[in-house]
Every structure is written in structure tokens, then in C-alpha cells.
């Protein structure tokens, strides 16, 4: 909704006003905080967990791990023929999962939740949530304001640029405080680790957090991006060779060649939203895809892009590589597209269920696990149920 509302209300003064305007419309927004917040409510054990909305899935080699709605994390040691539900300390929608090894993995989701597993996804602990995120942003903003005020004092109070910067920083603090008042409302949308200690989580409204200690502490890194409009950051991936790429709303693309310390804004080939990035086998190569079947390829870590015909108008959400040249990408309305030539050309298929799917992963060359609004399904590369 970010971009739509932004456009609708842009003339009236941006996002903040848009939210106030909407907020006034139906119900007053006062409510008391629940005794058992979803952030502290363990996921309810359910036999339906593997048939209900799952959003991301990862292949750990011997084990498959999928995450989804209501804090569901399920795992399978039988190549997907049976699933067990893990104990999870939260019951929010989990949006992404990433494992750096067969043991260590992270899952992120709504409420700014970051979970960690040390045992290949069997058990999970909460490392971080939106309340901490809000607090961290406020503290950072306050520190920045203090710094600017100090600089302004130094300059004798006459530096106009500094004054503007201070004003902006004060607005940012107000925003952050407002967010904190609302609570842990912003979701993380993807997570990627470079090593078993160093990783990033991205999310809505420009959320970008970094850890360098395996998730014990997370630090706001959102200011490293040139994302003034605070567009949603939908995906973050590590490319072959170690470059990082972030794709998001309204076609925003950022890349980093120094492990995320600095980020370049990429000249985007598309102004609609990107939902996913799929790193390819070759160094610095990746596919990015998103709204209405838009699909682009880079072989130079985002410096240039070529448009690929996806053969579909459905939004593309998540993809998988068989380790070599075969690629499957899935999306809304039962769409699955397949390439056998490393992403140069695709053929498009339509699943009979026409449901939305968000991710898939290769188990063998002709057997994949597909996740989406009806849970997990075992399928062929073109998305046919096995």
C-alpha cells in the first residue's frame, strides 16, 4: 500500500498525512495492550500447519524448513513427504527464512520479529522484535540530533544546511516516536546472512537491520540506503562472489560490494515493485522479478539489466535454482515459469489451483517443494503436483 497511498496522498504532504487521514476515518485508534501479545504467544500446535499459508522455504540438504502464518515453522527430513511443526515463541506471520549452514538459521516476520535456530530449525528463540527496533531507531535519531546540534553550536548557529538537516532529523525522531507508540507494527520481509555471524534483515518502510554477532544484537542500518521515501524492501540476497542486493517497492534496487557497509542505488529498469531476487550460478548474476510478470537479469551485480520475457502477467514472488541452469519461479494465480538455460528464456505454466505461491525450492532436479496460501506442495519444475 505504500506506493499507492504515497501516490494518492503525495500532493497532500506525504505518507504521514495519508496515515492520519485514513486513521480518522473509521475507528479511534486507542486500545490497550494485550496481556499475551502475539510477539510473546507461542505458535499453536496444529495439524493444519502444513496446509495453511506458508511464505518461504529453505533446503538445508538433509532437511526442508518452511515458515509462514501464525508463527508456523515446519520441517521435513523425508524430502517433503511428511512434516513436523517446530516450537516457535511467537505467533506472527513469518515472511522469510535463511540458513547459513545446516544448523544455523534465522527467520523474520511481522512485528519486527527475528528468530534464530541453532539446531537446523527444530527449535527457535526470539532474538529481536519491533519494539526493540523502534527503540533502536529512536536512540539513533536522538544521537544524530545531538550530534547535529553540537555541530550547529560549533558553527555558531548560522549553517543553513545543518539547520535543515536538524529539522529533518527532528521529523524523523517524531516519526520514530509515533511508530513506537503504535507498537511493533512493521514487518521484516527478508533476511540474508553472509557468514554465521554477519547478516541483514530488510522490511517494510525501509527497515534495514544488521548484526555482526550472530543476532545477539541488531543495529539499524536503514540510513545507509538512499531511500527517502522509505519504500518497502522486499528482498535481500547474497550473490555469487559476495555482492549484496536489495530489491523493493517501486522498483528500488540497492547493491553493496563491501558486505553491506555502503550501498549504491541502482538505476532501476522498472518502476513497479520487485518481490524477489534469485542469485544465479555465475558470479554477480541474478534475476529480479516482481509485479505483473516483470523479470530482469543482471550479470554484473546490478550495473546493467536485461529484460527477460516471463510469458506471464501475474506477479512473480519467489524462485529456485537447481544448482545449475534450471530455474523455477512462482507467483500469484497459480503461475509457475521455468527456464532451462540459466534464465535467458522462460515458459509459463498455470497451476490448476490458481492459488498464490510465494517460494519454491529444489529437492532433486525434478522434485520441488512449493509454498503458498494452501501450505506446502510437492511439484515438478513446472509446478505440477507430484
Amino acid at each position: 500500500m505504500n506506493s499507492i497511498f504515497h501516490r494518492c496522498f503525495g500532493l497532500l504532504g506525504g505518507r504521514k498525512l495519508a496515515q492520519v487521514f485514513i486513521g480518522a476515518s473509521v475507528v479511534g485508534s486507542s486500545f490497550s495492550l494485550q496481556a499475551t501479545d502475539v510477539l510473546n504467544t507461542p505458535s499453536y500446535p496444529s495439524e493444519l500447519a502444513s496446509e495453511y499459508l506458508l511464505v518461504d522455504i529453505e533446503n538445508l540438504g538433509q532437511r526442508l524448513v518452511a515458515v509462514g502464518a501464525r508463527g508456523h515453522i515446519i520441517h521435513s527430513d523425508s524430502r517433503g513427504s511428511s512434516w513436523q511443526q517446530a516450537d516457535v515463541p511467537v505467533s506472527v506471520l513469518l515472511t522469510a527464512v535463511d540458513f547459513v549452514s545446516s544448523d544455523k538459521g534465522w527467520a523474520v516476520g511481522h512485528g519486527g520479529v527475528i528468530l534464530h535456530s541453532n539446531d537446523g530449525g527444530l527449535s527457535w528463540v526470539k532474538q529481536f522484535d519491533g519494539n526493540q527496533a523502534n527503540q533502536s531507531i529512536i536512540e539513533q535519531a536522538e544521537a544524530y540530533i545531538a550530534e547535529l546540534e553540537f555541530e550547529l553550536d560549533e558553527s555558531g548557529g548560522s549553517d543553513e544546511d545543518l539547520e535543515y538537516e536538524l529539522e529533518d532529523a527532528q521529523y524523523a525522531l517524531e516519526d520514530a516516536e509515533l511508530d513506537a507508540e503504535i507498537g511493533a507494527s512493521k514487518p521484516f520481509l527478508d533476511v540474508a546472512f553472509l557468514t554465521d555471524t554477519h547478516g541483514f534483515a530488510v522490511g517494510a518502510y525501509g527497515f534495514l537491520f544488521e548484526t555482526t554477532d550472530g543476532g545477539r544484537t541488531w543495529e539499524n542500518a536503514g540510513d545507509r540506503l538512499d531511500n527517502l521515501d522509505r519504500f518497502h524492501l522486499n528482498a535481500i540476497k547474497v550473490l555469487e562472489g559476495g555482492n549484496l542486493i536489495i530489491a523493493g517497492e517501486a522498483g528500488v534496487l540497492f547493491t553493496s560490494s563491501d558486505k553491506g557497509q555502503s550501498w549504491d542505488t541502482v538505476n532501476s529498469p522498472y518502476e513497479g515493485s520487485f518481490f524477489g531476487v534469485l542469485p544465479l550460478k555465475d558470479k554477480n548474476s541474478a534475476l529480479v522479478f516482481g509485479l505483473r510478470g516483470n523479470l530482469f537479469k543482471t550479470v554484473n551485480a546490478g550495473r546493467s539489466w536485461s529484460k527477460v520475457d516471463s510469458g506471464t502477467e501475474s506477479s512473480l514472488m519467489g524462485g529456485a535454482l537447481d544448482g545449475n541452469k534450471q530455474i523455477s519461479i512462482t507467483g500469484n494465480a497459480g503461475t509457475v515459469i521455468v527456464s532451462n538455460d540459466g534464465g535467458e528464456t522462460f515458459s509459463s505454466y498455470s497451476r490448476a489451483d490458481r492459488l498464490g505461491h510465494t517460494a519454491m525450492v529444489y529437492i532433486t532436479r525434478d522434485r520441488l517443494a512449493l509454498v503458498g496460501e494452501s501450505g506446502v506442495e510437492l511439484v515438478s519444475p513446472s509446478g505440477k503436483n507430484l
Binding site: V27, Q34, T41, E47, G183, P187, S273, R354
Partner: protein, 786 residues
């Protein structure tokens, strides 16, 4: 039903009031006939105007908490239930062809103009409110699913297919297999133009004529399936009409049976005429008291007719005996009246007391049933005990009938002689063993007895009725359920969409979805998540309830009106169920009650329960509670009746045991036939026991008289069988005939009642003639047997 005690007749009836009444009646026969004629004409005129009445409220337990909650929130729930869905199916191929779309367009227009339809909310592929939406770089894009410039060409049909896929209507308005689509029409309970309530029968008829018949005829490649509350009620009312046929069949059957029994045209016709008069009076009085005929009370005339006939036969019997002994027609009729008026009234009063226990069931329609039955029994006292002998006093028996009566009297009564061995000392223990065995077997099978309705679809109608087949079609081809439980959530004004509440509802819904038998759930939370997802460019990563109240508010701005009342103080949580079996309902209600305990708050209140499943659950609870109370009280009442009549515990045991055995066997039969204990079948127990006890009373009283005369048991029993037994068996068969035609009713519960009453009437009769003497062998002190 007076199974008159023929041989003791005349011994104790020469007492005052009876004589006065007799003189009054038989001295003024023309006046009496004239009065009857006038009353019958007047009540007949009223009876003719009696209206079918299938009022929803009378069928449900209004005093139950669930129903009261539903009624309290009725105005806010209205739009949830009352709609019809018309599935238009293509027989060959799919919906994407010119002819199909043309018919669908015409049909949509036709439905649009049906009176009672809420036109602004009518939905079909051809209505402009059914649109496709697509997220593009510039925001939403959309349009009606029928493409602009649609001309039936392949290109425009292809465009239509694409639009349908983008519309999200597959599963709700378009079948999963693309072979049918639905026209969805919400109805006005009260027509806003005329302020008249919706006439379900007329509406249903219009649907048949103007929609189903007309368009299936004009396009042979389509079939039409219609479901919805209005259609169901219409079908039910039509089903009441079918009862007329059964009435004719019953009369025909009774006619031939009476003739075989009496071989006398007069004795055949007059009982039938007087019984029909009884029915006319009963219907006329019902109308005068402001009652209509609902699908339950429409059955009472059959009972009245059958009870009337059985009393009529007693009178015919008596007159035959008197005439055979040489009296003239008038004196025979007077003697018959004199002998039968007391036992007749006693028997009818005991029937009425049996019916009264129906008042323990807190469901209006059942209480109406008690009123109708009570009225009927009261009417029979007048018509069959007075009008019948007066009419016969003019005619007497025909010569043929008289001859037949004499012949029967003179015969050796061989079947009765054989049957009398039931009281023999070596046969009686066997009978008792068989009875115990039967009881054990009955108790074993009775364990499967279920509360509530057990079939899928509309339980009122047969599983293979058109309505239920249509329902099956829609359930199979669309993602939808017909069994809906609605939990009402009350909040202070403007608080029905607070995060606190929606979060709790979200958790509850998931817990409910994990209950066996729950298909899915829906509420504002569902809408909020769906819209939040849609506003985030259709990404499932956003299918979550936001903690940000502004986002919640904007996500529910366009929520369907039924999901929120005008001041946002009530919002429903809708639970779609696989079926409405009692176990399913119990499981869901129980889980819901646990959840309500688990999430207490001052800011909201969860109230059970509306929707058809909510009403069923309430009904089941009422029935379950009433069942024990009713069984206990009906048995207490009849036992008491026996005790004061015979002043002997042995008599009570002899009479009640066969009834109890029948009750057990009846429940086992229900379990085996898959008939649940429900509104329709619970009264059967009261009716069956109330009427059934008469058999035992008459047999026992005759037996006792004969024993007092000094006969040994088997001979006393033979004498009993020859006279009273004959009448009892005749009565059993007559009553059986009266109810067995119901088995063919298009209304399922009428058929169930028919089967069970038929069983109970016959078994009570058999039990009283077979088991009663065997028990008497051990319980009643007699002189040594021969």
C-alpha cells in the same frame, strides 16, 4: 381410542348423568343433527381458509440463550442469511460460449425483476458490481468482468475468461471447474416498496416457473440449481400440500379395511364421515384460535382421523351386538352410547394427558402440536361419541353387516385361542426371556442414537429431494458450506474493529479451524488481512493483521455490510462447518466456550450463536434436556393413570413393561435408520406412549374382570382377546394406516415421524397382546390353572 369393554357393557352405566345425557341426545335427534350440521358448516368454512404457516420462529427454541442472543442482534444479522443462489450449469462444455452467456444474461435480468430481490446487491457475471481488479505500477486497475464491447465472439470470450481469473470469483460466483456460475440474490425480509413481508411460497413458485422451468426449456444445454432459505421454506410449504394426497390414500385404505372388517356399507361410511367431521372441526377451531398449519401440526388431522375411526369401530361393534340380540336401530345406538361414553371419554382423556407432556419441550411448534392434538381429541368426544351413534340410530347395520357380525360371534375364534397360549405357564417364561433379550439388543443398538439432524443439506427435506441435490451440486462445485455458525461479538460503539478485539478473533478463528468439522472461518479479521495483502500489491507476506489501527481501519472500509453494524458495536465471527451433526456442533460450541473463558475482556463480549448451525445447536440442547424430562414424565403420568385405575402395582408393571420395551426398540430403530432425536421425533415418544397405553389398559381391565369372574388365566385371556383383543388389534392397524402414508412425504421429518409412529402403534399393540399376559402369569394372583 376406546377399546370398549363389550361384555361388561351396561353393567355400570345406568348411573344418573350418563342417562340424562343419553335421553337429551336421543330424544332430540333432529335438533342434534341440525346443530352438528350448522357447526360443521361454520367450522368447515373456517377450515377451508386455514393457511400454511412455516414461520421460522415457531420452529426454534426461543427461550434458549443462543436463540435469544440471535434475536437480540437480529437487525444487525439480517443480511447474513436471507439470500438465494441460483447456479446455472452448462451440461456440455463450459460456460465460455455465446449461448450460455446469453441465457445467463437473460436470467440475471429475470431475477432482477423478481419482487423481493435486493436489486442493488444482486450479483452475477452480468451485474456491473462484479469486477476484476489488477495491481499495476500505477495502482489498481479494474472493470466489469464482462469485457467492454462483448459480442460473444471467441476473442471476447477469451477476454471474459481472463477477467474472471483476475476477479477472484472462482469458487464463489464461478464454479471451480468453469462449468457453472451463480446468480446471487439477497432478499428483503420486508419489501421496502410495499412494506409487505416476503411471501416465501409465492417467491419459490416464481423461481420454479420464471427461472428454472422457463430457462431450462429455452436453453436445453443448461440446468438450474437453486438454494437458499426462501427456496427451502417454499419447498416445505409445497410439501405440506402433498399431505392432501396422503389424506385421500389414508381414507381409501381405511374405507376398504373397515368394509373387510364389517362387511356393511353403512358401518363403513358413517365412521369415516364422523371422523372427517372431527378433522373439519379440529381444523376450523385451529383457524379460529389463530393457528396455521405448519409441517408438524398438519399431521395431527391424520391422528384425529385414526383415533376417530377406532372409536367408531367400537360403536359399530356395540350396535352390531345389540342389533344381533334383537334390538332396533335406535335402541342399539342408545345402548352403544350408554356403554361406551364413559370408557371412551376416559381413553381420550388419557391420550390428552399424554400429549400434555409435549409442553416440556420449549419449542413453539411442538407446543402447537400439543394444542392441535388436544383439540382433536376433545372434538372426537363430541363427534364420534355423539354424532356417530345418533347417525347410526337412523340407519342401523345393513343386513349383510349384521349377518357377518353374527357369523364372527358364532365362530370358534381359532386365532385368539392360539394366541391365548401366550399366558400359558410354559410359554410365558419364553416370552419374558425373549422380551429381556429384545431389551438388551435394543439397549445395545440404542447406544448409537444421536441427537439432532444427521443428514447433510437441509434436514427438513429428503436427502434426494431436488433442493438437497441442488445444495449438493453447489457444495461440490463451489468453495462454500451450507452449515454456518455465527458468533456475535458485542463491543462499545465504534470499537468493533479494535486491534485488541481483532487479534483475539484471529486467534479464536485459528483454534476453531483446528476443530474437526470446521471448514473455515470468516470475520472482519479475514477481510482486514485480505485487504492489507491486496493493498500491498497482492503479496502474501502481508497477509497479517496490522497492529496499526489506521491500517486496520482502512482495510475494513469496504468490508461487506453484514460484517459490521452501523455504529460498529457488533461484528460476527462466521464459522463454516462440514455438517450439522450434533457431535460437530458440540465440538465447536465447546471449543468456543473454552476460548471465551481464555480471552476475557471488558472491551468485548462473545455471544453464541446465530446461523443455522447455532439454531441447531440450541435446538439439540433443548431436545437433549427435554428428552429425559419428557420420557420420565410421560411414563410417570401413564403409570399413575394405571395405578389409580387398577390400584395394583402388578397392573402397572404388566401395562408399562411392554410400552418400555417398545420405547427401547424404537430408539434402537432410530439409531439404525439414522434418525436422530429432534424436534420431529421427540413428540413421537409422547404420542406413542400416550396412545399406546390404552391398549394395555383395555386388555388388562378386561382380563381382570374375567379373572374376577373366576376364570383361569388362559381362559380369561382367551375371553379378553376375543372381545377387547380384537378391538385392540383393529385399533393398532387403523392407527398404523393413519400414519404409514407419511412415510412417503417429501418432508423428511414427516417421513421419520411416520416410520416411528407406525412402529410404535403396532409394537405397543403386539406388546400388549403378547407380553402383557406373560407378565400377568407371574405377577397376577389367580386360582390354579387348569
Amino acid at each position: 381410542m376406546a377399546n370398549a369393554d363389550q361384555s361388561s357393557a351396561g353393567t355400570n352405566n345406568s348411573v344418573g348423568s350418563g342417562m340424562v345425557a343419553e335421553r337429551l341426545i336421543f330424544k332430540n335427534r333432529p335438533v342434534i343433527l341440525g346443530i352438528f350440521l350448522l357447526i360443521t358448516a361454520f367450522l368447515g368454512f373456517n377450515a377451508a381458509q386455514i393457511k400454511p404457516d412455516a414461520s421460522f420462529e415457531r420452529l426454534i427454541p426461543l427461550e434458549h440463550e443462543f436463540v435469544q442472543n440471535m434475536m437480540d442482534n437480529r437487525s444487525d444479522l439480517e443480511n447474513l442469511g436471507n439470500f438465494i443462489r441460483i447456479a446455472v450449469a452448462a451440461k456440455d462444455g463450459d460456460i465460455f460460449n455465446k449461448a450460455y452467456m446469453e441465457t445467463l444474461s437473460e436470467l440475471t435480468d429475470e431475477v432482477f425483476y423478481l419482487s423481493g430481490v435486493d436489486r442493488s446487491s444482486l450479483k452475477s457475471l452480468w451485474t456491473p458490481n462484479v469486477r476484476w481488479v489488477e495491481v499495476t505500477e500505477d495502482g489498481f486497475q479494474g472493470g466489469p468482468v464482462i469485457p467492454n464491447g462483448y459480442d460473444g465472439s471467441q476473442a471476447s470470450l477469451d477476454q471474459l475468461r481472463a477477467n474472471i481469473l483476475k476477479s477472484g470469483q472462482v469458487g464463489s460466483l464461478v464454479a471451480d471447474d468453469f462449468k457453472s456460475t451463480i446468480i446471487y440474490a439477497p432478499l428483503f425480509e420486508i419489501n421496502p416498496e410495499t412494506q409487505e413481508p416476503l411471501d416465501y411460497q409465492a417467491f419459490s413458485k416464481e423461481l420454479e416457473e420464471k427461472v428454472r422451468e422457463k430457462y431450462q426449456a429455452s436453453n436445453p444445454n443448461i440446468s438450474i440449481h437453486i438454494v437458499g432459505f426462501a427456496k427451502k421454506v417454499g419447498d416445505l410449504i409445497d410439501g405440506i400440500g402433498a399431505i392432501a394426497t396422503f389424506a385421500l390414500v389414508t381414507i381409501g385404505l381405511t374405507l376398504s379395511f373397515l368394509y373387510i372388517y364389517s362387511r356393511c356399507p353403512i358401518a363403513t361410511v358413517i365412521p369415516i364421515v364422523t371422523s372427517i367431521v372431527a378433522v373439519i372441526w379440529q381444523l376450523g377451531l385451529l383457524r379460529l384460535f389463530g393457528y396455521g398449519l405448519d409441517p408438524y401440526s398438519v399431521l395431527i388431522p391424520f391422528l384425529v382421523f385414526a383415533i376417530g375411526i377406532s372409536h367408531g369401530v367400537q360403536i359399530v361393534n356395540q350396535i352390531a351386538v345389540q342389533q344381533a340380540s334383537g334390538l332396533n336401530a335406535l335402541m342399539s345406538a342408545r345402548m352403544a352410547f350408554r356403554n361406551l361414553v364413559r370408557p371412551g371419554i376416559l381413553a381420550l382423556v388419557s391420550d390428552a394427558i399424554g400429549f400434555l407432556t409435549l409442553f416440556f419441550i420449549e419449542i413453539e411448534v411442538i407446543r402447537d402440536l400439543a394444542v392441535a392434538a388436544g383439540l382433536g381429541v376433545a372434538v372426537i368426544i363430541v363427534t364420534n361419541l355423539i354424532l356417530h351413534p345418533v347417525m347410526m340410530s337412523y340407519t342401523g347395520l345393513s343386513k349383510g353387516g349384521l349377518k357377518h357380525a353374527k357369523k364372527v360371534e358364532m365362530s370358534d375364534h381359532k386365532p385368539w385361542r392360539v394366541l391365548s397360549f401366550m399366558s400359558h405357564q410354559s410359554i410365558a417364561p419364553i416370552s419374558i426371556m425373549i422380551a429381556i433379550l429384545g431389551c438388551v439388543i435394543g439397549l445395545y443398538y440404542q447406544k448409537d442414537l444421536k441427537i439432532g439432524d444427521l443428514d447433510r443439506g437441509a434436514p427438513e427435506l429428503r436427502p434426494d429431494s431436488r433442493y438437497n441435490l441442488d445444495n449438493e451440486f453447489i457444495i461440490d462445485n463451489y468453495s462454500t458450506s451450507a452449515d454456518i455458525l455465527v458468533v456475535m461479538v458485542k463491543t462499545p460503539p465504534e470499537q468493533c474493529a479494535s486491534y485488541e478485539l481483532l487479534d483475539v478473533m484471529d486467534r479464536m478463528q485459528w483454534r476453531l479451524e483446528n476443530v474437526e468439522g470446521v471448514q473455515s472461518t470468516a470475520s472482519l479479521v479475514t477481510v482486514s488481512k485480505l485487504v492489507t495483502k491486496a493493498l500491498n500489491e497482492g503479496s502474501f507476506k502481508w497477509f497479517e493483521l496490522s497492529r496499526n489501527q489506521s491500517i486496520i481501519n482502512s482495510s475494513i472500509q469496504r468490508a461487506p455490510s453484514g460484517l459490521m453494524n452501523t455504529d460498529c458495536s457488533m461484528t460476527p465471527m462466521i464459522v463454516y462447518l462440514d455438517d450439522h451433526k450434533a457431535e460437530t456442533l458440540d465440538r465447536v460450541i465447546q471449543e468456543m466456550q473454552v476460548l471465551i473463558e481464555e480471552y476475557p475482556s471488558e472491551n468485548y463480549e462473545f455471544l453464541l450463536a446465530a446461523g443455522n448451525a447455532g439454531v441447531e445447536a440450541a435446538t439439540n440442547q433443548v431436545i437433549e434436556k427435554a428428552k429425559t424430562v419428557m420420557l420420565l414424565s410421560v411414563y410417570a403420568v401413564v403409570s399413575f393413570l394405571c395405578l389409580i385405575t387398577f390400584r395394583s402395582i402388578a397392573a402397572v408393571v404388566c401395562i408399562i413393561t411392554p410400552l418400555a420395551l417398545t420405547s427401547v426398540l424404537c430408539e434402537a430403530l432410530m439409531a439404525q435408520l439414522g434418525i436422530g432425536v429432534k424436534v420431529a421425533t421427540l413428540p413421537v415418544i409422547a404420542l406413542g406412549v400416550g396412545i399406546g397405553v390404552d391398549y394395555g389398559i383395555y386388555i388388562y381391565s378386561q382380563l381382570e374382570t374375567k379373572l374376577k369372574e373366576g376364570l383361569v388365566l388362559q381362559e380369561a385371556y382367551f375371553q379378553t382377546l376375543r372381545t377387547t383383543g380384537k378391538a385392540v388389534s383393529f385399533t393398532g392397524v387403523t392407527l398404523g394406516i393413519g400414519v404409514c402414508t407419511w412415510i412417503f412425504s417429501p418432508i423428511k421429518f414427516q417421513a421419520d415421524m411416520g416410520i416411528l409412529l407406525f412402529f410404535m402403534f403396532l409394537w405397543n399393540m403386539i406388546g400388549s397382546m403378547w407380553l402383557l399376559p406373560a407378565l400377568a402369569r407371574f405377577l397376577v394372583k389367580t386360582k390354579k390353572t387348569a
